[in-house]
Every structure is written in structure tokens, then in C-alpha cells.
């Protein structure tokens, strides 16, 4: 799943160096799709007189630690996880942030 080895992560003995990366996956309801939870929170904020709130959408945040040989490799792996399992393309969008080495 990890990206190709680059010069920077090959150790002098020829082994590919694998690091632990912190990856955050944000999943949110697609624009235009009804988000009843976001709407309820929006209404609750208004009833607390936070009138400046114009819209609320509720999604989920997944924090993962994963092993990869590079940041690009970590991102690529997370993207495949999103396409296969973590997000439903009919209802959800996702974006991935690699927060660096653990």
C-alpha cells in the first residue's frame, strides 16, 4: 500500500526505512445532501443566540497511526482506505491530512 521507496528513506544497508505517520481523515456529508444532525445543531446554536451561524454540517474525524515509507505513501494508503471502506461516495466526501511522523 505504501508509496515507492525514494533515496531519502533507503538506509545505507539498503533497507527501506518505515516510519509511523499520523493521518487524519475528515469525512463530511456531500453538499446538498440533507444533514439532519447538522441542522439540529444549527437550530440549537440559534436558540443560544449564536445568530451568526449560517450553516452546520456534521462529519467524522478519524485519527490513524500507520506505517509507511513516506508521507506520500501514507496519504496514498489512507486514500485507498477511504475509497474502499471509510467513506461512502454516494453520501460523503473525504479529505486527508498527514500530520507528520508520530
Amino acid at each position: 500500500m505504501s508509496g515507492a521507496a525514494t533515496d531519502s528513506n533507503i538506509e545505507p544497508n539498503g533497507k527501506v526505512q518505515v516510519n509511523e505517520f499520523l493521518v487524519e481523515v475528515r469525512i463530511s456529508p456531500r453538499p446538498g445532501l440533507l444533514d439532519p444532525e447538522g441542522k439540529a445543531i444549527h437550530n440549537a446554536l440559534h436558540s443560544l443566540e449564536f445568530d451568526e451561524v449560517e450553516d452546520v454540517r456534521v462529519g467524522k474525524l478519524l485519527r490513524m497511526k500507520l506505517l509507511a515509507d513516506s508521507e506520500a505513501g501514507a496519504r496514498e494508503a489512507a486514500e485507498q482506505m477511504c475509497r474502499k471502506l471509510l467513506a461512502n461516495p454516494v453520501t460523503e466526501d473525504f479529505d486527508i491530512a498527514v500530520a507528520g511522523r508520530a
Partner: protein
């Protein structure tokens, strides 16, 4: 008819289906644990209702990758009859065997109540015992039953007659008030283009005996039984219809 009922961790309508098939219909059924890898000798596979894997991530998202699902997928692609009820419908959508998805009810509430659905297509192997326009009293029990799909998919479903059940009011009219969960176009159940995979949110297996308050779900099981028996379906919806 031999029916395989797939049991996932968290399934809770598997025995209701078993009873409907065996006690009420007098047909054969067996359970298939989700860790098994083969559907053998089944005419019909039922993915029952429940909360497989606690509905974690999204309802049906994890069950869809259970070992048995590869076999169910093959069975469906080869034209085998697959019926998904409630959580089973969610699993079929997650698995891509049916288009669209099911999202949180617009009320945010779990709904356990009686609803009315209208039979929109009585030519399928699951609905031949009904007539088009029949209004059935069935029960729903779900938190994520809002059917969504993009406009092109919805139009295709409509024009192909793939919308099989729609939420309606007591007069059989499609209204927003009769829509319990915010489903687009009041859709309660759809069938795939090939006509062998049906998914619906209401529970027909809970409306098969007078003591349950309605027998309107029986027609679905009778239709598929008669499909395999090769005889025209007997009309089983009573005039009273539990309406």
C-alpha cells in the same frame, strides 16, 4: 424453496425471517453465519434486519466485507435471488448490489412504527402476489432509513420500474407527511435492474400473522415462493389488508 438467512454479529431479525419462511410459509430455511464462505443450495438469500457490527462507521459498511458477502455477491451477479430487509437493504447498498444509500432519518429519531407502503411494481418475483397500487401496512424499525441517490439514478429507477415500494398515506397518496424518514421520492424499497435483488426498509417478516396486527408482508414471501414453484402467485393480500 430453500432459503439461506445470513446472520451477522448484531442481526436481530434472522429468527423472524426463519419463522415466516418455515412456520408460516411451510418452506425450508437455514442460517448461514457471516464467517462462512459459501452459500450452498439456496434459492433465496435473505440479509435480515438488525445492527450488524453495531452500525459502526455507517450502517452496513462493515458487514459488507464479511467473508460470506463475496459468495452473496457472486450469487447475486449470477442471477440468484437476494432479499435485503432494513439493515440488509443498507448492506446491499454498501456492497453496490443496489444503487444509492441510506442516511440518518431526518427526525434524527429511531423510528419503530407502522407505516403504509404502496406497491409500485407488482411484476417482480417478490411482488407478484400483490397488485400495483395495493397499500400495505408494514412496520419500520430503523434510525438510518433515508434513501438517497443522485437525480440521474432516481430517474433511472423510476423509468425502469425499479421503485417497488413507496411510503404513502392512508389513501395511498405520496405525501411528505407519510414519509417517515425523509427518503427521496418516498422510496421504501427498490430492486436491481436484473430483477433479482430487492432491498426495502420495512419489515415484511413482522407482518405475516394476524396476531402481529397485519398479514400484508406475507405476499412478498408468497410471491418469491411461487416464483420458485413455477406457478402464478396466489393473491394473498386480504381485502381488509390490515389497513
Amino acid at each position: 424453496m430453500q432459503v439461506a438467512i445470513v446472520t451477522f454479529p448484531g442481526s436481530n431479525c434472522d429468527y423472524d425471517c426463519y419463522k415466516a419462511i418455515t412456520d408460516i410459509l411451510g418452506e425450508q430455511a437455514h442460517f448461514v453465519w457471516h464467517r462462512e464462505s459459501h452459500i450452498d443450495g439456496a434459492d433465496l438469500v435473505i440479509l435480515p434486519g438488525g445492527f450488524s457490527y453495531g452500525d459502526y462507521l455507517r450502517a452496513g459498511a462493515i458487514a459488507r466485507f464479511s467473508p460470506i458477502m463475496a459468495s452473496v455477491q457472486d450469487f447475486a451477479v449470477q442471477g440468484g435471488a437476494v432479499l435485503g430487509i432494513c439493515n440488509g437493504f443498507q448492506i446491499l447498498c454498501e456492497a453496490g448490489l443496489l444503487p444509492g444509500a441510506l442516511i440518518r432519518n431526518r427526525s434524527l429519531k429511531f423510528l419503530g412504527q407502522r407505516v403504509r407502503v404502496r406497491v409500485e411494481n407488482a411484476t417482480t418475483r417478490y411482488t407478484s402476489a400483490y397488485s400495483e397500487g395495493d397499500v400495505l401496512a408494514l412496520h419500520i424499525a430503523h434510525g438510518e432509513g433515508g434513501y438517497v441517490a443522485d437525480a440521474a439514478t432516481l430517474d433511472r429507477l423510476e423509468s425502469n420500474g425499479q421503485v417497488v415500494f413507496r411510503y404513502v398515506d392512508r389513501h395511498g397518496q405520496v405525501t411528505d407527511e407519510a414519509n417517515p424518514n425523509g427518503s427521496m421520492r418516498n422510496i421504501a424499497g427498490i430492486i436491481n435492474e436484473a430483477g433479482n435483488v430487492l432491498g426495502l426498509m420495512p419489515h415484511p417478516e413482522r407482518s405475516v400473522e394476524a396476531i402481529l396486527g397485519s398479514t400484508d408482508g406475507l405476499g412478498l414471501f408468497a410471491s418469491i415462493r411461487d416464483h420458485f414453484a413455477g406457478r402464478p402467485a396466489a393473491r394473498v393480500l386480504s381485502a381488509a389488508g390490515g389497513r
